[in-house]
């Protein structure tokens, strides 16, 4: 809402600097987002009058204008097409700061010789003055302006750009803002009651109004004017509209806009001769009802919208926009002025559905007072009389099915103390609220106050609202600053959060960079996870109106995001890339919110390991990825088995399922080359994915202590010949099952020369140790032989000699 400080002064005697008013309004909830000073640098610009116009001796397009400035006369060269003798104009003397009409830059006016004629000054356009972009001709001032005065004294102003919050439609008006300024500066608002003469037959005999949807239109007022002469509005009115960011149209439309800006009540003017049967109905629109709005667009209405209709057809979409059929034109002489209240929700819904946000709808949709239409109508009618020379039919039609009593709230000083933490006496509170025109009455009981809410404050309905009013006026800065002293809730931790944080920390310590990717993805990305490029995941949830094809579905996997991130970072060729993300995936559930599962996903890739002068680091392979999983699980105190897996995104044979307690909790393996290619990954990449919530359920927070053996250990290294089909884990389990075995370490795996076909050689170090005594060689020999016997018996394992 753009508010002219000059206009504001019509209602409240502002003496404070504009910046102080802006600060006070901002602190009180009406944030002033910007301030535009008009004429702040018009130092040498005066009001002049054109006395004579003569041709330029050397140029056809230029003329010589003689300007009377009151105290002196000057002649300047001027190229404007609209030079007229007798017009009042803005004259800039040499030295004035003007905007250059061509460059748009501010420049100081210098004496100039134009085609041989000296010109000491300039007659200004709106653009040169910085008022608007208009540069077609010079600015013509009203005749009433005093000759020789500083233009700044006449036109100078400060415009406050106020961000009005949606609870304060009353402040989408100059008077509303004036009330706030008055309350903040301890002044009174004065608004003159409109008055005008009525004549001729009564309006009731000329027009009829019926509200067929009283639930959506609690009040409808109208006046009727005749003998209207359509023409331009006077300059003062045009200037105020322009200052408020609205374009002047003609006197009738300008008056309706002016009163809307002044009071906050949108009005509509119907060409009464075109209103069929001279009858107005307020009703719900029919589904699919066609309607051509003022902006020349054919629209289809729905039954959720409200229309104003005449005896035959709709003539306006109520509260949003009028129609062409009854539009005011230059020929219009009789006008029905509408001033009504409409249901806020229906206007909001309608304007969204029609994609039509108008100054009117922006006010109605926030809920206007039902007391406002009559006051605003009278004001508009008065201005119509003054500006269009019309006559007013006797009376006003006022259909008011939704009349309400003024709101009363039982308030108390105790409530202020309870919510604000400030001690204010009943008197102080009353004095504070009265600044905002709340009528207050001490009930005499304890600290109670009976408060009557002024009619324009539709937003104030309860004690908390009144508390805010008090806080706004005394100022939030005067409220003390204290620390919470109330009792603490029962201590409660979020175990999943701690578990997640621990997992994050371990991954970081393993050298992984955390990333965060979008929760929405595309079907295309999800399909890329399968080597056959078809979607194989669980049913995804779709957004109703996707922002783009890339952001259509809630992700059912973290993989697309992390693989795409890997690709994006591939250009940094010199390093291995280790990434992880912990985030939610979303799985469809019937008639319920999707299931949100927290997942861990990680990738490792190193086509070109980091260069190092003592030899490069080992490249990443499956066992590097597995080492990360093993480290993670061991740090979390979880034991897992790794079985061959069949995840489609991973290459068969280099693909493992991570199993905890018989439950598959995740996978790891080499990204299938076709999947990698689909994502444009040109290195071998390894992927880890773990269901963090499953893992969480297997977490072991209870740690146990095993005494450290004080006895020496015995080491035996053996080389075993094993069938290739037998897994290392099968061998390891047998060895580790023996009670004296403390550790089993595989230190070489070999097949090839010297190893028979179909066999592999495993070199294993077994560390024997007892917690109770020093082991003798004989003891170890016996156990060692036992182990070898079992291995031989179960898997045909032999010692390699």
């Amino acid at each position: 809402m753009k508010v002219s400080l000059k206009w504001l002064r019509d209602y409240v005697p502002v003496t404070e600097a504009a910046s102080e008013i802006a600060h006070k309004l901002t602190m009180a909830g009406l944030e002033v987002e910007g301030m535009q000073v008009i004429g702040g640098d018009w130092k040498n610009i005066f009001v002049g009058e054109i006395l004579a116009i003569n041709p330029h001796p050397n140029a056809d397009r230029l003329r010589l204008a003689t300007v009377n400035l009151g105290s002196k006369q000057v002649t300047v060269v001027c190229g404007a097409p609209n030079l007229t003798i007798g017009d009042k104009i803005a004259f800039a003397e040499v030295g004035a700061e003007l905007i250059d009409g061509h460059t748009g830059q501010k420049a100081q006016l210098k004496p100039a010789k134009i085609r041989g004629v000296v010109s000491e000054g300039m007659i200004c356009s709106e653009k040169e003055l910085g008022i608007s972009g208009t540069h077609e001709g010079i600015l013509v001032l009203p005749q009433s302006v005093q000759l020789g005065m500083l233009l700044a004294d006449y036109m100078g102003d400060t415009i406050l750009d106020i961000a009005v919050t949606s609870n304060r439609p009353d402040c989408m008006s100059v008077i509303g803002v004036a009330r706030e300024v008055a309350a903040q500066t301890d002044k009174q608002v004065s608004v003159r009651a409109p008055a005008y003469a009525e004549e001729g037959p009564a309006i009731h005999s000329l027009a009829a109004i019926e509200i067929k949807a009283p639930d959506l239109c609690p009040r409808y007022c109208a006046s009727l004017i005749t003998g209207v002469k359509i023409g331009p509005s006077p300059s003062w009115l045009q200037q105020r509209l322009l200052a408020s960011g609205m374009r002047p149209i003609n006197n009738v439309v300008d008056v309706t806009n002016y009163v809307m800006l002044e009071y906050g009540q949108p009005l509509h003017a119907f060409d009464f001769k075109k209103v069929q049967d001279h009858r107005i109905e307020v009703r719900r629109a029919q589904e699919g009802e066609p309607f051509k709005t003022l902006d020349d667009i054919d629209r289809k209405l729905t039954k959720d919208m409200l229309v104003i209709a005449d005896g035959k057809r709709a003539v306006a979409v109520a509260g949003i926009m009028g129609g062409q059929s009854t539009e005011v034109t230059d020929a219009t002489a009789e006008i029905l002025i509408e001033s009504a209240t409409f249901n806020a929700a229906v206007i909001h819904r309608g304007s969204l559905a029609l994609n039509l946000r108008t100054e009117a709808s922006l006010r109605f949709e926030k809920g206007l007072s039902r007391e406002l239409p009559l006051i605003a109508l009278k004001r508009a009618t008065q201005l119509m009389v003054e500006l269009t020379g019309c006559r007013v039919a006797k009376g006003i039609i006022d259909v008011y099915p939704g009349k309400e009593d003024s709101k009363q709230i039982l308030f108390s000083a105790w409530e202020v103390k309870r919510l604000l933490g400030v001690d204010l006496s009943v008197d102080e509170i009353i004095r504070t609220l009265e600044k905002l025109s709340f009528e207050c009455e001490s009930t005499g009981i304890a600290e109670e106050i009976l408060v009557t809410v002024p009619w324009w404050r539709t937003d104030v309905t309860n004690k908390a609202d009144l508390t805010e009013e008090v806080a706004r006026i005394i100022g939030y800065e005067s409220i003390p600053t204290t620390m919470l002293s109330s009792s603490l809730p029962e201590p409660q931790t979020l175990p999943m959060r701690s578990f997640r944080q621990k997992t994050q920390d371990i991954m970081v310590h393993c050298g992984f960079q955390e990333i965060i990717t979008y929760s929405l993805t595309s079907m295309e990305m999800l399909q890329k996870l399968s080597p056959k490029n078809e979607y194989i995941g669980p049913q995804p949830v779709r957004t109703a109106h996707p922002m783009s094809r890339e952001l259509e579905y809630l992700r059912t996997s973290l993989r697309p995001g992390i693989l795409a991130t890997l690709v994006r970072n591939q250009r940094y060729k010199e390093a291995t890339i280790n990434l992880f993300e912990i985030g939610k995936i979303f799985l469809y559930k019937e008639k319920d919110l999707p299931e949100e599962r927290e997942m861990l996903c990680a990738v490792l890739s190193s086509a070109q390991p980091k260069l190092f002068w003592r030899g490069n680091a080992d490249p990443v392979d499956f066992y590097v990825a597995k080492g990360v999983v093993e480290t993670l699980l061991s740090q979390l105190g979880i034991e897992a088995a790794f079985n061959p897996g069949d995840d489609a995104s991973l290459l068969s044979g280099r693909n493992a399922v991570i199993v905890v307690d018989g439950d598959p909790v995740g996978v790891l393996g080499e990204v299938h080359p076709r999947v990698a290619r689909a994502f444009d990954i040109n290195d071998t990449a390894y992927l880890i994915e773990i269901d963090l919530e499953k893992l969480f359920s297997y977490r072991n927070d209870v740690k146990s202590y095993t005494p450290i053996s004080r006895y020496p250990s015995t080491i035996r290294d053996i080389a075993l010949l094993v069938d290739v089909a037998v897994s290392y884990e099968q061998i390891r389990k047998v060895i580790a099952a023996s009670p004296l075995v403390n550790q089993v370490i595989l230190f070489d795996l070999y097949s090839g020369e010297q190893v028979p076909q179909g066999k592999k050689s495993l070199a294993i170090r077994i560390i024997y140790q007892s917690a109770e005594h020093t082991l003798t060689d004989a003891e170890v020999d016996e156990v060692h032989k036992e182990i070898l016997d079992i291995l031989n018996h179960e898997f045909g394992v032999t010692l390699r000699s």
Partner: protein, 344 residues
Amino acid sequence: MLDKVEWLASQAFADLNKIANLKDLEDWRVRYLGRKSDFSQILRSLSALSPDERRVVGARANDLKVKLEETLTQKKSSLEDVVLSSSAEALDVTLPGRPVKAGRLHPVTQILNEVCDIFIGMGFQVAEGPQVEWEYYNFEALNMPADHAARDSFATLWMDYESEPGHRPMLLRTHTSPVQVRVMERTRPPIRIIVPGRVYRYEATDATHEWMFNQIEGLAIDTNITLADLKGTLYEFARSIFGKDRKVRFRCDYFPFVEPGVDMAIDCFMCAGAGCRLCGYTGWIEIMGAGMVHPDVLRRVGIDPDVYSGFAFGMGVERIPILRYGIDDIRLFFGNDLKFLQQF
């Protein structure tokens, strides 16, 4: 016998003086102090002497042995010093060390942890809630019924539920505030929670707008919680995050689910309040919205607003690193360029 001991000792000392390397020193040690050395044999054969002679010779021999050993130790360490400090072994200490692959948390995670820790220190507990929400929790429960004008400030990403008859409208939450309601529904006061999490808006992205971002929400409910407590809590928070010298401004603002409503700003650290591009020439940078929980919100979850009161606040998380580090494009956070992420 004594003479022999003395002679041996003087011989040993004389030899030791001539030794110039560790190997000769070891030979010397074996010759004079080893198990088979004359010295050891003398000490072993003491038992054959008369008790008087044994006492004299034994004492002297032991004495000399200790002296020889001490001298040996000194000689050894000085010879070692020579070897250890020899320039042939010096490394080029400017050669790069072997890189250790180090990971980092995403800057948003780091800030979330930091903010949570500050509030945990003030007795708050972390709560979480779903990112896909019922319309009810995101709007109605927070005083924004259907067609309420305030919904316009929450451009909403609705989920596709229309194909299923009777399905209630669901959406990607536009703020973390629904979690307030969920917690109040299942917990009785006193309540003190903070809620970190992702939120979503139907919005075109540019340097200052992202359709997905993170918020931190706070809620405290009990008897006698006041706006003064809200100011105190947020004041402490602002100074913990943005520095002890920051000025904090509280002004009236409107959010449908609080009353009175509060906007909290800090003085601009670029211009210290003078007005610059960063603060939009106001001198203040808005950090969060807050207020006293609206009585209707409390009533809806069965908490009596005449007995209990409380405050709530919410802020964008990315805004903190943006301000702190001067990050000029919010899209960098989820663009996940390692050159960006590895700066934090």
